[in-house]
């Protein structure tokens, strides 16, 4: 088993996140006690709408990663499996189902457990697993569930009016559901404010991703997987915007002063797929050999926010989400993007994280390997679950990473020898 789990942070701004997160979860519990309504949400449920209705959101995938990072996944996954959920299904789901259905012998959940929900909201696209997971939770807890649907659009964004109409109907359906089950009312002005803030935060993050092309890398995956957190879970807030402004300023400073992650950057790696949340220190493992995980593809943002498309903020959301597919997307598109990023970020080698229980990323990995092979970029496949630490074998993983780095370093040496004049 791994002895340490957190990644060492190189940036000061990133060090703020654990406290932000702890405060956020504490706030959700306090909100619940104060009588505010709490919604358990899957990723991609727009918190901007919930915030505009004074409803507190708890994102369960994130809570699962917190459980994993606190080394609780074995106990919770086992409990989830005892309750009948196959090892094939999402590690996050097994953790939460274990928490909900497991007995008294379970260890204490982080932050005392997520705030008790009043309603559940799930988006039906992006993956199959969350539907099964959320419908099970709704039944177990006997709570109302709203399914937010959307056209899939494998080809990416489009302006098809019928797609927009459907997406809008789903968002309005969500608002109607929230009004019915929480007796709160929807404030379009607040939504507009949050959307604007979220758009700004997105744009700053896009800039930050671009800045990571710089050699030496000003921020590696060790910081980045933590730095994404506010953008995913505090989106639409002033706090979130301030965080990314600060992060961008720090990045600029590091670039100006040539401050990298390691004294001498010998290798630039990319992490494809989800990280192993129970052992993020792996992101630092390469540093001893002068390696940096310069970029990761899991939460990558490269598109600036679209300008406002409509006065009405709900219609605006529908328009923008139809015109621009932020998540998933077609297989071909996702593969091309990853190869392009590997080239643009001067990547020497890609680590392909095969998480068998996360079908969304897992399906893609061999095809991605093939594409990277064709592009002449070396890869290493690691097959471990992103949340269930029982699938991880420290010795094996490190042995393979060592060999991969040796290979890449030798390759780099070879290149340099060719360039040197005779």
């Amino acid at each position: 088993m791994a002895t340490s789990t957190s990644a060492k942070k190189h940036l000061a701004t990133t060090l703020l996140v654990p406290e932000l997160r702890r405060k956020h979860y504490a706030q959700t519990v306090a909100d619940s006690k104060a009588g505010k309504k709490v919604a358990w949400c899957s990723n991609n449920i727009p918190s901007e709408i919930l915030e505009a209705m004074d409803i507190t959101s708890v994102y369960l995938e994130n809570y699962a990663t917190v459980c994993a990072s606190k080394r609780l996944s074995s106990a919770f996954c086992r409990a989830g499996e005892r309750a009948g959920f196959s090892q094939d299904v999402c590690g996050y789901a097994r953790i939460l189902m274990g928490y909900l259905l497991g007995g008294d012998d379970l260890p204490e959940a982080p932050y005392g457990g997520p705030a008790k929900p009043d309603i559940l909201i799930v988006n039906s696209y992006s993956c199959d697993s969350r539907m099964g997971w959320f419908t099970t939770m709704a039944r177990t807890l006997d709570l109302p569930l709203y399914v937010l649907d959307s056209p899939y659009q494998p080809g990416g964004g489009c302006t098809d009016p019928d797609n927009i109409v459907y997406t809008e109907s789903q968002l309005r359906g969500l608002i109607a559901f929230l009004e019915e089950y929480t007796e709160t009312s929807f404030d379009p002005t607040r939504l507009r404010q949050r959307l604007e803030l979220a758009a700004k935060a997105n744009d700053i993050q896009v800039e930050i991703y671009q800045m990571r092309k710089h050699v030496p890398s000003p921020m590696g995956a060790g910081d980045a997987y933590t730095a994404v957190w506010p953008g995913m879970y505090l989106t639409g807030s002033e706090e979130c915007d301030r965080f990314y402004e600060q992060l961008r300023a720090e990045m600029r400073e590091r670039i100006e002063n040539g401050i990298g992650i390691v004294p001498e950057e010998k290798l630039r790696l990319m992490w494809s797929g989800l990280p192993f949340w129970y052992n993020m220190s792996l992101m630092n493992y390469f540093e001893e050999k002068g390696g940096v995980v310069a970029i990761e593809n899991a939460f990558f943002r490269q598109l600036r926010s679209l300008p406002q498309q409509d006065e009405d903020p709900v219609r605006d959301m529908a328009l923008r989400s139809t015109m621009r597919r932020g998540y998933a997307g077609g297989i071909g598109e996702r593969i091309d993007l990853t190869v392009e990023v590997a080239r643009e970020y001067s990547i020497d080698g890609v680590i392909l994280s095969y998480n068998p229980s996360c079908r969304l990323f897992y399906i893609l990995q061999p095809a991605l390997k093939n594409a990277l092979d064709r592009a002449g970029i070396p890869t290493l496949a690691l097959e471990c679950d992103m949340a269930d630490e029982r699938t991880y074998s420290e010795g094996q993983v490190k042995t393979r990473l060592d060999a991969f780095m040796e290979r890449l370093l030798a390759r780099r040496q070879g290149d340099r020898r060719e360039i040197r004049p005779s």
Binding site: E81, R390, G395
Partner: protein
């Protein structure tokens, strides 16, 4: 079955066992390694059981079970291992409500009603991890005689981590433990823990109800039994000859 003698034969992948049953109980039994083809091994095992009964004749009423049961042409009936394990266990331990049958190649967990019928079951025969074959493989890798494995494992004061997910994975982990000089006892303790992990998982599929009996070849492995008892937090009922329970259950049929 009345006054007549009945025989049960369990044609497993490693052993063929036979039980001769009369109105007063088990009259003779035998367990032979099934090195030859099923039909002959079955016959030999039955002959041996009869010989040990004080040379009673081979009965007409023969019921066969085990993975090779279809090869026993002289059997009057055939019955599934699940049901035979339930009946055989109930005969030996009427208070048992769950039996964990741990064989060379496959495991099964069966719930037993108060009147000795199987009411639910789960099997694992696709994957080697958790079976006797896994332990045999590990014995070879560690160069430890199979019969000494459990004693060594019990002597360990701590345990090396061995994956329970996959035999191939586990094997390479064991080899790296060996290279790093980890004492064999600790590795063996880890191996036994991994096997028990899989057994507990299997048992979880039918919801274990006490009392719990353990049968099959692996039930002679004291380290495994100790670990299993600790994991389930339940005392285990183990017959003196755990490899004949299937044949016994067949005979009761």
């Amino acid at each position: 079955m009345g006054e007549a003698l009945v025989a049960g034969i369990d044609v497993g992948s490693h052993n063929v066992s036979a039980v001769l049953l009369g109105p007063s109980g088990i009259l003779g039994h035998a367990v032979l390694a099934s090195a030859e083809e099923g039909e002959r091994a079955a016959r030999r095992s039955l002959e041996e059981a009869c010989a040990r009964s004080g040379d009673l004749p081979i009965p007409e009423a023969v019921v066969a079970t085990g993975c090779g049961r279809s090869h026993v042409s002289f059997a009057a009936r055939r019955s599934s291992e699940v049901l035979c394990q339930a009946r055989g266990t109930h005969h030996l331990f009427p208070q048992a409500r769950t039996v964990l049958n741990l064989g060379a190649e496959s495991n099964r967990a069966v719930r037993i009603s108060a009147d000795g019928r199987a009411t639910a079951f789960a099997t694992n025969d696709k994957c080697a991890a958790g079976s006797g074959r896994f332990l045999e493989l590990m014995a070879r890798v560690l160069e430890v005689p199979l019969e000494e494995m459990d004693e060594l494992a019990l002597a360990a004061d701590s345990r090396a981590e061995v994956s329970s997910r996959c035999t191939v994975f586990a094997e390479s982990e064991v080899i790296s433990h060996i290279h790093r000089g980890v004492p064999k006892a600790q590795i063996l303790a880890g191996i036994h823990a991994a096997v028990v992990d899989r057994i507990v998982e299997l048992a979880g599929r039918i919801e274990v109800e006490p009392e719990v009996a353990v049968t099959g070849g692996l039930a002679r492995n004291r380290a495994l039994l100790a670990e299993l008892e600790s994991r389930l937090d339940l005392p285990l009922l183990v017959p003196p000859e755990p490899r004949i329970v299937g044949a016994l259950g067949a005979a009761i049929r």
